[in-house]
Subunit: 472 residues, 2 copies
């Protein structure tokens, strides 16, 4: 890192460039909010900038690029991988001012939002107009549009609706050198030029910073189906039966709107923390489907050994079931002082092998690993719980984390389904790319990074390895 | 173009490299098939290679790259933009041998296909297993998987299901230098690395050649809904009423599986050529929806002045309606000796302005411009019919073509929704990118091209402008 300015002079220079009101220096108490993320990755920015316009972003980037100072974009800081951490760089916080929903177009079916809009705020605004934006990471009450685009977030509805990238039409971005540009068009079809929008989606702030985005919206599942849609749970006395049901649902070509798995330990931790009142079985599937599909889905589960089920009585009751799943990470976090959210993804027909391995790994290292997640797309999250204050416990958790990732990759899976790479999985990602895609592909990625950000100021040291890709 | 080898010696060198059986030289009668595409763009390749394996493709590319000889990939040649034409280069024809469906995975929901598989062959194979691959360009009976990926094809179901890029999970490609690599993973979620798969989708063979692909598949619309799904037509005595109905359907948050517009002239031409027996009204909407949604959609159309409707009696009858739309390009082609398929896309709420302008333009230049296409996503194709043998007629058609494109862009639309750029729209695309996205974006696209294909051998002179992007 070529950054060698004192944080004092950096702060005053940026203040004189942009005005005091949008610069947060370490002496302010709210600066503390930027020292960690939801994954407990520490951060020590030199200064936090809270821009009000794309021009502010452009000025900061030009300043930083000329001086080779790292710049890290941040929304709510709900990254679980250290994607927003920095030591000595400039954090650009989009959440403070750039948080307006600029328009909702109910004929052309898009919403135009600034990067700092909170996902649930968008969802609520759309709901008033009868529309729906499907991606729903569990962090939806806090996470921002800029964050979900940079992370190409998934969530519970990916099984049917795809990840965030499927819902992004166009972006306004600022490049590393401060140039502002629109990528793509807010049209459902556009074949002009290489798809730079998709290149930016999921790039973790390493190519350009998104200031605002045109997102595709769609009618609610209920309106789409033209029939009532309900949330429901199916209970199992063995996780094997639950996993076989998932495979059965897919092989039977049934497509619920969401298809989630929750193990006993995980569900118990949520119920202990939030008193949601869901009976704890060895394994639970949480789903949403139309009245037409529910009996067919229940029949598949029954034939795979389900012991009971519960269909939400009304929308409010459905939200209660949903919250049990959405609050899982927080529930699990309460089990001890530290937790690694594992995010490997495996082919759906290898889920049983994967779950078996996770359970063996928990036993091997003597750590708790509650399981829950997006079973419909093979992305079940093991949460590796550890005791932060104990070196031994941390080491066991590290070993378990690595073993599970490597096993998932050996099954034909991937290091990360939705949480991304950040700092946390840089080496694992490199190994996967080397093995599956080869050095030429790694090299292309590195060269793309250089092309977009020649001075390597945008979130350096994250997402893409800077070395040759060969194992050290 | 640095190509300066005689086609005679080029042919024999490639024959000795790969074996005679996979090389087609100009003296063979089947060579004639490669001298034009569906859009009547002429081509004069030096040699056609018909590889059996990715290794063959790799060898040809390495050979061509070392000698800077242009290479153009070709499936069925149904491009409408000159994307497969070349003068003096090597055409790689994937359709002859590399046309196997390698696997259909009904648990993980993907099909793994070689590039030369015909789209309808895949659809038929999937249908046997109860699955469905939604993208359906009208060329589906002939076009190939490699072609639809390179062109990011759309078709009638884009309105609901998106374009081909939404259905591509992973690709095996050969880079310009002959290196083979897999891009992406056949998983519904994968957050490792920049999304190079999406960069290749829609790149018209200018970055890498696709040898085989993992495509996402899904249950049929009927199975997805759990209720019967029917095709139907709604008839209007004015196109304004039809266009208002489209806007009404969208504003009412109704989402048919397809939503197509057909003007009287276009429909008449199909009926004259293929005797499908559909009554010709001033404007017709062709749709597919579940039993639940059909009455709601019909009500919106009625309130916008529809005069009649026809619901398909059974699947076979539905296919008849579908074929009326799918055969439109061929119907319109029969009207004279030449036709330009215009492919501009406009925001849905500007469709009325667009159609008005097209009708004025037809009058202004004294040319026939039947209208039909993907109204649900603002991608109605005007077909500019002309008399190839008359210079005057060709010139009028050229002017009409340009006027319509420029008007669409001025409405916030795009030069091309699905047919792509090829040779045909290079300057229009450049102008659009300059105006909307700026020189930095054009430069990034050019640099990406250089990074992937430093010797500029992959479909040179197509898709991406090679100059500075400034208007000459």
């Amino acid at each position: 890192m070529t950054f060698a300015k004192s944080r004092e002079s950096l702060g005053s220079e940026i203040e004189s460039l942009l005005g005091e009101d949008i610069v947060l220096r370490p002496d302010k108490s709210s600066f503390e909010d930027f020292k960690a993320d939801l994954g407990d990755f520490a951060s020590e920015p030199a200064v936090v900038v809270q821009p009000k316009t794309a021009d502010h972003v452009s000025k900061v980037l030009k300043y930083a690029n000329d001086r080779k100072i790292p710049v890290v974009a941040r929304g709510a800081g709900t990254s679980l991988t250290g994607a927003t951490s920095t030591f000595g760089g400039i954090v650009i916080d989009f959440s403070k001012y750039m948080n307006r929903i600029l328009s909702v177009d109910t004929t052309n079916w898009y919403a135009h939002c600034e990067a700092g809009v909170v996902l649930d705020d968008l969802k609520e605004e759309l709901k008033k107009k009868g529309f729906f934006f499907p991606p729903d990471p569990a962090s939806a009450p806090w996470c921002t549009i800029g964050g979900i685009i940079s992370e190409n977030s998934g969530g519970m509805r990916t099984f049917r609706y795809g990840t965030v990238r499927n819902w992004v039409l166009a972006l306004n971005v600022v490049f590393a050198d401060g140039t502002k540009a629109k990528l793509g068009e807010p049209l459902p079809k556009n074949r002009v030029g290489y798809d730079l929008v998709q290149l930016v989606c999921g790039s973790e702030g390493t190519l350009a910073l998104v200031t605002d985005a045109w997102l595709k919206i769609t009618p609610t599942p209920e309106e789409e189906a033209g029939t009532p849609v309900k949330k429901f749970m199916v209970f199992f006395s063995s996780w094997e039966d639950a996993v076989n049901s998932i495979v059965g649902i897919r092989s039977s070509r049934l497509i619920p709107n969401l298809l989630e798995f929750m193990g006993a330990e995980a569900l118990q931790s949520v119920d202990d923390s939030f008193e949601i009142g869901i009976p704890v079985h060895e394994a639970t599937l949480f789903m949403e489907a139309s009245d037409e599909l529910i009996p067919k889905i229940l029949a598949v589960c029954k034939s795979n050994g389900s012991v009971d089920n519960y269909i939400a009585k009304d929308e409010k009751d459905g939200e209660r079931l949903y919250s049990a799943r959405a609050l899982l990470h927080l529930g699990v976090k309460s089990l001890d002082t530290g937790v690694y959210a594992e995010d490997a993804v495996v082919p759906v027909d290898r889920l049983a092998d994967y779950v078996t391995f996770v359970k063996q790994t928990a036993k091997k290292y003597g750590v708790k690993i509650p399981l829950a997640g997006h079973a419909g797309d093979g992305n079940v999250h093991p949460s590796i719980v550890y005791h932060k204050e104990s070196k031994e416990s941390r080491e066991s958790a590290d070993l378990a984390f690595a073993d599970i990732i490597r096993y998932a990759v050996s099954l034909g899976g991937s290091v990360t389904g939705e949480h991304g790479i950040g700092k946390q999985k840089l080496n694992f990602a490199r190994d996967q790319l080397m093995e599956r895609n080869g050095p030429k592909v790694i090299n292309l990625m590195q060269e793309i990074k250089k092309l977009w950000d020649p001075n390597n100021i945008l979130n350096p040291g994250k997402f893409v390895v800077e070395d040759s890709g060969e194992k050290s």
